[in-house]
């Protein structure tokens, strides 16, 4: 009897301990984080291989694989999204808001020579197809592709280890957007932009590779990045309190939240910009939020700048893409 009781007790203990251990997320334990990191680091160091989400280019350039991968029916997806933009433009027109579309070109197209990989032809011509469709429907589109291709010959416009543009690229993009906007009937403001000392920067692609915590031989080198910040001084000709807050609204993706793009845009426009961009917005999340916002429906801005990345144009269209 005692034998069975002991056995039963032991068994209960084992099952209890087991239940406790199974409930643990071992991947979060510091020693497992190190192990996973070193596994990734070794792959990078020994075999020049990254996670499947990241493509290793030459001279330390990293690219997001999503930009390089050809999804099924990319042009059809692009055309579906163009139709969605046309629908949004109609709604905005009814509200008295002018739409400016800004498509951030793929880093992999601007720096094709660093890829070591020939981009599929469809991906090379998609951007112009997009501009063509929107242009034919009188929707203002900022052709950042042309601007960036030209600027990239003089200076770096994207971060090497990050998906996004760098400070210089963001400023160039902001100036290109500002050139498309007539600010005559907008309340002007003054801004000042300050540059900060260059700091080593580990891009999101290094984090995506899972090697950010490792020293350099096991991960790509960090790069030096000069950051900027923009402050408004005062609204010209009016008191600060009288300034309308949402004459120009910016919706979009993480690009609008990085490298002081919003600030550079304010500086270039000389007008306050309400930045409603969302991290991980994809093509449509931030515009959907904008369209559903009651306050913005009652007090629509004069201009809406809608930014998104080129790579989103080709991705399979989800059922939820019924924007208005």
């Amino acid at each position: 009897m005692n034998k069975f009781l002991n056995f039963g007790f032991g068994l209960t203990l084992v099952i209890g301990l087991f239940g406790f251990l199974v409930g643990q997320d071992f991947t979060k334990h510091p020693w497992m984080v190190q192990t996973i990191g070193f596994a990734n680091g070794l792959r990078y160091w020994l075999l020049a291989t990254a996670d499947d989400q990241v493509h290793l280019g030459s001279s330390g350039w990293l690219f997001l694989n999503q930009e390089l991968k050809l999804p099924a029916e990319p042009i059809r997806n692009l055309e579906t999204r163009a139709s969605a933009v046309l629908s949004v433009a109609k709604i905005l027109q009814a509200r008295g808001t002018e739409l400016i579309v800004v498509v951030v070109p793929n880093k992999s197209r601007i720096y094709q020579d660093q890829l070591g990989f020939a981009l599929p032809k469809i991906l090379q011509h998609g951007y112009s197809r997009w501009v063509q469709i929107l242009g034919a429907n009188q929707i203002k589109t900022v052709q950042l592709e042309v601007v960036f291709s030209k600027a990239a010959q003089q200076q770096q416009v994207f971060l090497k280890t990050d998906t996004h543009w760098n400070t210089a690229g963001a400023a160039i993009a902001a100036r290109a957007v500002a050139q498309q906007i007539k600010t005559n009937n907008l309340t002007r403001a003054s801004f000042v932009t300050r540059s900060h000392a260059a700091q080593p920067y580990l891009g999101d692609l290094i984090h995506l590779m899972g090697v950010a915590q490792l020293p350099p031989p096991f991960r790509p080198e960090s790069e030096l990045e000069i950051s900027t910040s923009t402050k408004s001084l005062a609204v010209a000709n009016q008191g600060l309190l009288a300034a309308p807050q949402s004459q120009v609204v910016l919706v979009g993706t993480s690009y609008s939240l990085r490298s002081n793009f919003g600030g550079a845009l304010e500086q270039a426009l000389g007008v306050r910009v309400a930045n409603l961009a969302q991290e991980g917005s994809g093509f449509e999340r931030s515009i959907r939020t904008f369209l559903q916002d009651r306050v913005l429906q009652d007090h629509p801005p004069k201009i809406l700048i809608w930014e998104f990345a080129e790579r989103f144009l080709y991705l399979p269209v989800e059922d939820s893409l019924s924007l208005p």
Partner: protein
């Protein structure tokens, strides 16, 4: 629970082992049974009931067949019941699909969402083998139900085999011994399987997926079939190695399941080396059961074809598996006919292996396709319907790591050392053994990291 999950590696396995060592030998089967239930129950508690139904049914059927006079009736009855369980959970929806096609309506399919317990095909076949062995007096029934259940539900082989004959494991469960030597061998074998699965097989998974994407080119399909053949081998043989290693750690010997199948020189030889426990089961209980080669040449061909069709259907409820079985059956039949009628001498090794590998690879197009239309579209793509060269998405995934692993996989799939120096196998073998031992622990550490760093890929045979 998956063998490559951290919960298994750092939770279940060490605790079970510790408890097993502390447990009196006579009671170890009880601990094992508890562990088996926890292991399987965590996957899906509902599936545990199906497992117990199969175990209970096999046990009772075995007892009755042993003592009763009308053994054949009871054998047929229990086989029908066991196959009924398999048929209901695995093939009922497939049957409804066929019926829907025949009647031209989809009404029949509505409201059917049937649970498919992982490993069902494996443990039902274990049960069938048990009752068949008692019927043919090759084995005696196990008197202790709990011991029988602990053997039939043994966690190491429950999900993906090797298929077990209870007679081979039952005696080992009486008083299982755990020796240091066995533990060492078991750990080594487990690590080998773990590395095969995590480092090699899982690296190929995204590549295979991309090769068989919509509108794949000719080379995409050829390359995809080649990589998939390697992935399947390293995935499934990796699982078998882990199962055999785990069993050894617990003092139990499981049968081998693979013997360098891609070194076979014919399809017949391939099936003697690939998934050996299933091949042995099919030969023993289906082919010989049907009459084998004792009923004339024509019937032998028919038996061969039927056996492979059943083997195909065992893998899943889909016409693709029926065609895959027919493909293999047809090839076995052809080989036999050519051997008997034309009395051709065996081909040179290089020719035999290349031919066998190509035929196996092509057959796998049925195996990997989700449906028959897709399978035929793969064959059409081989002729260049959507172009010839590799698609850009495939090229994108050809990282240096994958290229190296492809070379490693090819090296490990064939007995190069034996071919290159047939007379000096021992010294080279020793050298390889020492290198293997020195590499094993760092590789295991790397594999543990990779298991979480890469996207987790379930074992390919889980769906069977």
């Amino acid at each position: 629970m998956n063998f490559t999950s951290y919960a298994f590696l750092f939770g279940f396995l060490p605790l079970m082992f510790l408890a097993y060592c502390c447990c009196p030998k006579q009671s170890r089967y009880l601990l094992l049974l508890t562990g088996n239930c926890v292991f399987y129950g965590l996957l899906d508690p509902r599936a545990l009931m199906v497992l117990w139904a199969v175990v209970g049914l096999s046990f009772v059927a075995g007892k009755i067949i042993f003592v009763i006079n009308h053994k054949r009736v009871w054998l047929v009855g229990s086989v029908v019941l066991l196959l009924g369980i398999l048929g209901f959970f695995k093939y009922a929806y497939f049957g409804l699909e066929i019926a829907s096609g025949l009647f031209g309506t989809t009404e029949l399919l509505h409201g059917w969402e049937i649970l498919l317990p992982i490993g069902l095909s494996f443990y039902v076949f274990n049960g069938l083998a048990y009752v068949a062995d008692i019927y043919s007096q090759k084995a005696e029934p196990e008197p202790n139900f709990l011991r029988f259940a602990s053997g039939m539900t043994f966690f190491a082989s429950l999900l993906n085999g090797p298929l077990l004959l209870y007679s081979s494991i039952g005696s080992q469960l009486q008083t299982p011994e755990v020796s240091g030597h066995q533990i060492q061998d078991g750990i080594r074998r487990f690590i080998l399987g773990f590395c095969k699965k995590v480092i090699i097989a899982d690296a190929f998974a995204p590549l295979v997926r991309e090769c068989f994407a919509v509108e794949a080119s000719s080379l995409d399909i050829w390359f995809g079939a080649f990589v998939y053949s390697l992935q399947l081998y390293f995935d499934f043989s990796g699982y078998s190695d882990m199962a055999i290693g785990l069993a050894l750690i617990f003092g139990i010997h499981l049968p081998e399941n693979f013997n360098q199948p891609y070194a076979a020189k014919s399809i017949t030889e391939f099936w003697q080396r690939w998934h050996m426990s299933l091949s042995a089961f099919l030969k023993q209980y289906v082919y010989i059961g049907l009459g084998g080669n004792r009923c004339g040449e024509l019937r032998t061909y028919l038996h061969l074809l039927l056996t492979m069709l059943i083997g195909g259907l065992w893998h899943g409820a889909n016409w693709t598996f029926v065609f895959w079985g027919a493909w293999n059956g047809g090839l076995l039949l052809l080989e036999r006919w050519l051997g008997v009628k034309l009395k051709r001498p065996p081909p040179p090794v290089w020719y035999g292996i290349t031919k066998m590998f190509l035929l196996v690879m092509l057959g796998r197009l049925f195996f990997i396709a989700p449906d028959l239309t897709t399978a035929f579209s793969y064959f059409a793509a081989l002729t260049g319907e959507h172009g010839w060269w590799l698609g850009s998405n495939v090229v994108l995934l050809l990282t240096p790591e994958r290229l190296l692993l492809l070379v490693v996989a090819v090296l490990l799939s064939f007995p190069w050392l034996t071919w290159l120096s047939p007379n000096r196998v021992v010294p080279l073998g020793l050298l390889a053994n020492r290198a293997y031992l020195a590499l094993l622990l760092p590789l295991f550490w790397l594999a543990i990291g990779l298991a979480a760093a890469r996207q987790a890929v379930p074992f390919l045979y889980y769906r069977f």
